[in-house]
């Protein structure tokens, strides 16, 4: 046991760095052990988020924004700005058309690839439901992945009050994104900030943005920091691969004498965990990373891990601890939980059945149980792409190897449907072992 642990710890940095560096023999000479994380904000929401992030102290040079709206782009403080689709919409945005966003991003493939080059991981932040974020983010994810980076995407899912159309668009974008990115951690605005709270609109968005920016910062720190007890990003990706139907990122920070307890308490009391549909107790996979300065004690790590693991005893559990000099005497906890099962959007639907302000119809698809099959992103014909974007490279139809999609939530127990379930330590053993262990089939 011990032997295994120590070897895995040794392997961690080399593994994380290895993939991009072998492809391009440039950066590793200076900082061989330091992973590089870059952030791309896509669309207006993404741009705003990157701005908040940079204001909070994230190096602007590692940030890029990609937008079709010139105005928001010029005011951004990010290190690199990529404008898409200027020819069609003269820098006025996509107007909620995801196809335009997609075609525009395809046109900027070389810029995206140049930015993602040498990066260990690329974090894509965007707001789903609009044109640019929804359409361009999956394309950015694909190009970043081709450039050799691990792709983490943190999309903001619109408030319920933003309407059914945006919601539907967001759902479609979310699916596309899940196909392209290694890990997608959606941030549900509704869950984080109650729209009924007595807050001004500005404050609501501001607090949501800050919460999200804080989380992104923690995640970046967790993966760039010198890891003590390794929790490599790739492990999380594998753990979450089949359990990311409903996935959540929660972070909490604290300082002072009792910082570990305070941080753990704050984590448990986090609005996302409290108000959300996914709680720690019914998560199917849990990953916890404790982040601290050099003074981080083993007792503190233990406290946090104990606190989180006690509620999720039966699910696969990953833990790690990382030291980041910047943290000083603060402690941050990053918690990623995933669940096999109903898409969160479905639960949204049940709360507000088929209230469709656009068409007004009580549409039956809203009641039909959603198929777990995730359709591939809609392919565009070459004509359509050309129409939308002159000179944009037509999307290549490449038969990439993809993780097979398994119908997990309708875990039809097949033969054991009506029999008494075989429960062992809280695990339903009738569900195939490989599904429960999250082992991918190819």
């Amino acid at each position: 046991m011990n032997q295994n642990d120590s070897t895995s710890v040794q392997e961690v940095p080399s593994e994380v760095v290895a993939s991009p560096c072998t492809a391009e023999q440039v950066a590793p000479l200076t900082h061989p052990a330091k992973p590089v994380i870059r952030v791309i904000g896509v669309g207006n929401a993404g741009t705003n988020l990157v701005d908040v992030l940079v204001k909070k102290g994230f190096p602007a040079g590692e940030c890029a924004v990609l937008n079709s709206d010139l105005m928001s782009l010029t005011s951004s403080v990010a290190g690199q700005k990529i404008t898409i689709g200027t020819k069609q919409n003269r820098g006025l945005g996509c107007g909620g058309d995801a196809e335009r966003g997609r075609a525009g991003a395809e046109g900027c493939a070389s810029e995206i690839a140049a930015f993602c080059k040498d990066a260990t991981a690329v974090v894509i932040v965007c707001g789903l439901g609009g044109g640019t974020g929804t359409g361009a983010a999956p394309v950015v994810a694909r190009h970043a992945k081709t450039a050799g980076a691990i792709v983490l995407s943190i999309p903001a899912i619109p408030f319920e009050c933003e309407g059914a159309l945006r919601r539907r668009l967001a759902e479609a974008g979310f699916k596309d994104l899940r196909q392209e990115a290694d890990l997608v951690l959606p941030f549900y605005n509704d869950r984080a900030v109650s729209p009924n709270a007595p807050k001004t609109l500005l404050d609501t968005y501001k607090s949501a943005n800050e919460m999200l920016a804080g989380s992104i910062r923690c995640v970046c720190n967790a993966f760039t920091a010198g890891s003590v007890m390794g929790l490599p990003f790739s492990d999380i990706c594998i753990l979450m691969r089949d359990r990311s139907e409903d996935c959540m990122l929660v972070t909490a920070e604290a300082e002072g004498t009792d910082r570990a307890t305070v941080a753990a308490d704050a984590l448990m009391a986090h609005p996302v965990l409290q108000g959300g549909n996914l709680t720690l107790a019914d998560a199917d996979a849990v990953a916890v990373c404790v982040l601290g300065g050099p003074s981080l004690g083993i007792g503190e790590v233990n406290k946090v891990v104990e606190r989180t693991s006690v509620e999720s005893a039966s699910s696969p559990f990953l833990m790690g601890a990382a030291i980041h000099l910047e943290m000083d005497d603060r402690v941050a906890v990053v918690l990623i939980i995933g669940k096999v099962g109903q898409a969160s959007a479905e639960t949204h639907r049940t709360t507000q059945p088929a209230r469709d302000p656009w068409t007004g119809d009580v549409s039956e698809p809203a009641h039909r149980p959603k198929s777990r099959h995730v359709p591939p992103p809609p392919e565009m014909t070459q004509e359509r792409a050309r129409q939308l974007h002159e000179g944009a490279r037509a999307r290549k139809v490449s038969p990439r190897m993809r993780q097979a999609q398994l119908a997990l939530d309708i875990v039809s127990k097949g033969r054991f449907d009506r029999s008494e379930p075989t429960i062992h330590k809280g695990e339903d053993l009738d569900i195939p072992t490989y599904v429960r262990r999250g082992i991918p089939l190819n």
Binding site: L406, V411, S412, K413, G414, R415, F416, R418, S419, E420, T422, H424, L429, D430, P432, T433, Y434, V435, R437, I439, L441, N442
Partner: protein, 406 residues
């Protein structure tokens, strides 16, 4: 008629098949298997009946086949029972020796066993077996028969196998509905172990793991006694179901794939290999052999891991000097012994039935171990009964039986 040879029938209503084994005890007391009847089981899940009419029909077919083959009329059976609700545990009974000379009498032994059998189990549970283990006299362990020894305090452990009475009643009622008597109910894992293990193996310490269609039963012997028993409601059905689910094929096809292409371990030879199936509609379907093996390997590995955990928990792993013997349909999976060996860390082999003569075809198959074991159990009971001898006791037992049956 029945005097020259006594007929003993074992009936196992399993998840994948119903199997009736007819044994004949000849005048010398040797057991001979003379008939075997089997039918595909359709009304059983995880070892328990879920569809009585279906199961009834299957049992009838198996019985009829066995009757024809053995050319006898089956009147009563020893019935194998199993299911996830069946549990085993050890209980200890204590009795002070009160006689003046401190010599342990047969009565003392009877009393101590009675004490040990007085167990605290939930009211809805029924004791299937209470098997005596070794006696201990004044703290001296490992005494198999203390009668005649001197001592002041006698203790005995019994291994109790119990299950929920309603769920045990289901197969009994079904069999009685077919105008058959149930001589006794026997835990399936125990029956298998009787069929497979020789006395020497029991003495050395061994485990029988019966991987059936719906349940996996295991029985641990050490120093000649049953130390531990357990049931997992997991079996070959789960493998088929996993395959059907993971490879997106119908269950029947998954079952076929399991039998034709299955193996318990993953090896490099299957990397990138695939099988092409032609469906009923003529559409071809390509199945990744690597996935098939992986799904199967993981499930089997988990079953053995769960058994290993339980054996470890019961602290019996160190006693197993003769090793592990596999039986049941699961023992037919290629390389299953190799996998079990990896997980359990003790030598594993597929079990062979012992010291019974008769139909060779039946005896060689691992899935008939339970049926044969039931017959063996029955033959012990018969021997005990006839061994008590005497006309009066014979009549008494017959009368007793008569009352018990009604």
């Amino acid at each position: 008629m029945f005097d020259s040879a006594t007929i003993v029938v074992g009936l196992e209503i399993g998840t994948s098949k119903v199997c009736a084994v007819v044994g004949e005890i000849n005048a010398e007391g040797a057991l001979n298997i003379v008939g075997l009847g089997q039918a595909k089981s359709r009304g059983v899940r995880k070892g328990e009946i879920v569809d009585t009419p279906m199961a009834e029909e299957d049992v009838r077919r198996a019985i009829v086949e066995a009757e024809q083959m053995a050319d006898v009329e089956i009147r009563s059976v020893f019935l194998g029972v199993t299911g996830g609700h069946v549990r085993g545990f050890n209980n200890r009974g204590v009795h002070p020796v009160v006689s003046a000379d401190r010599e342990i009498s047969e009565d003392d032994v009877r009393d101590v066993i009675k004490n040990a059998k007085a167990i605290n189990i939930p009211a809805q549970n029924h004791v299937i077996h209470a098997i005596r283990q070794h006696f201990s006299v004044d703290g001296q362990d490992g005494i198999s028969n203390p009668v005649g020894m001197l001592g002041s305090r006698i203790e005995v452990d019994v291994h109790v196998v119990h299950g929920m009475v309603n769920r045990l009643q289901n197969p009994i009622r079904l069999v009685k509905g077919l105008q058959l008597e149930v001589d006794d109910i026997v835990f399936g894992g125990l029956a298998s172990s009787l069929a497979l293990l020789s006395n020497e193996q029991k003495e050395l310490g061994s485990v029988v793991i019966d991987i059936g269609g719906g349940t996996t039963e295991y029985v641990v012997y050490a120093n000649g006694i049953i130390k531990h028993t357990g049931v997992l409601a997991l079996g070959g059905d789960h493998i088929s179901n996993d395959l059907a689910y993971g490879l997106k094929v119908p269950l029947s096809r998954a079952e076929q794939l399991k039998i034709e292409h299955g193996s318990a371990v993953m090896d490099d030879s299957v990397k990138g290999q695939s099988i092409t199936l032609s469906g009923e509609t003529g559409a071809m379907k390509v199945i990744n052999l690597e996935n098939l093996r992986r799904i199967m390997h993981l499930r089997l590995e988990e079953i053995f891991q769960l058994v290993a955990q339980d054996l470890d928990h019961a602290r019996v792993l160190d006693y197993l000097r003769a090793g592990v013997f596999l039986c049941g349909g699961g023992a037919r999976i290629p390389q299953v012994a190799q996998l079990a060996e990896q997980v359990l860390g003790v030598p594993v082999s597929v079990g062979k039935t012992h010291s019974i003569s008769g139909l060779k075809s039946a005896l060689d198959q691992p899935e008939f171990a339970t049926g044969i074991g039931l017959v063996k159990f029955g033959s012990f009971q018969q021997r005990k009964r006839s061994g008590k001898g005497g006309l009066s006791s014979g009549i008494k037992s017959t009368l007793n039986q008569f009352f018990r049956r009604s």
